[in-house]
């Protein structure tokens, strides 16, 4: 529950927080998340990556550049083609943070599930809701 100390002023590199945000930003797009998932199965060329999508190869190439800037993928020339390679360690680090946070939220909401289930058994008039009647919109 207690937060880690803020890295402000003592971060190992001034650009480090921005780098992590680059990773989060790169993963915020559904096509880029899909590309990352597919690269987990093995390296691929941009052309191969673009095949299943309706968007152009250029658009997919742009997505790959965003992933590259975030450190999530690298490009390696081999046999006259450029192979896109997933940097799994960078991915694991960022998704590990998100997943841990998500899991703590999920644990909290499972406790809320239990409380809500018990509320079903209580008389509904135990305590009136504030303001307007149920179903009102803010």
């Amino acid at each position: 529950m207690a937060r880690a100390p803020l890295p402000a002023g003592s971060a190992p590199g001034a650009s480090a927080p921005d780098r992590l945000s680059l990773v989060f930003g790169a993963l915020a797009d559904p096509i880029r998340r899909d590309v990352v998932t597919r690269l987990a199965a093995g390296d691929a060329t941009v052309g191969e990556l673009a095949e299943p999508y309706e968007v152009s190869v250029q658009a997919v190439s742009k997505h790959v550049r965003v992933l590259e800037a975030a450190g999530l993928v690298t490009k390696t020339p081999h046999a006259q083609r450029r192979w896109v390679h997933l940097e799994a360690e960078v991915l694991d680090l960022a998704t590990g943070w998100l997943e841990r946070y998500r899991r703590r939220a999920e644990e909290r909401y499972r406790r809320l599930d239990a409380v809500l289930a018990e509320m079903d058994d209580e008389p509904r008039a135990r305590r009136p809701p504030p303001g307007r009647a149920q179903g009102g919109r803010a």
């Binding site: 207690a2 937060r3 880690a4 998100l98 999920e106 289930a117 509320m119 149920q134």
Partner: protein
Amino acid sequence: MTTTHFAEAVIEADPSVPVIRITRDFGATPEQVMRAHLDPELFARWVGPDGMDTRILHWDVRDGGSWRYVAGRDGTDHGFRGCFHQVTDTRIVQTFTYEGMPDDVALETLWVEDLGGGATRLHAQSLVDSFASRDAWLASGMEVGVHEGYAKLDALLTARG
């Protein structure tokens, strides 16, 4: 209870603003989900974390009201406080501060969406004051702290460069 899109909590870190968003579906009415957030006795039963005893010390649910609670384990207490900026039937807007870091204030917006059939989608959004602060939030409670995380990320990125 047929909608299961967010049967487990889904989290999103916005790339353009330092916001964390969580979405989660519940098999309860919007009124019940709101009451579980606003009734101090109910809230203390689930806010957790597991193994922590939550004591509500102050709870004044109204626009401009405030709240404070303490979560304790093994004699160590952590205090949290904030203000209810706005409370409606379907929405809570409040500030949130961990008293161990009193200068760090998050703006939290929580709203419920009626899915019908006794199901509710809860949206919880937390806006913090910097990306660094958000990253610290996300890394909180990790065995690898934010400093170690950055150091490792830097090492990984420079090693390949």
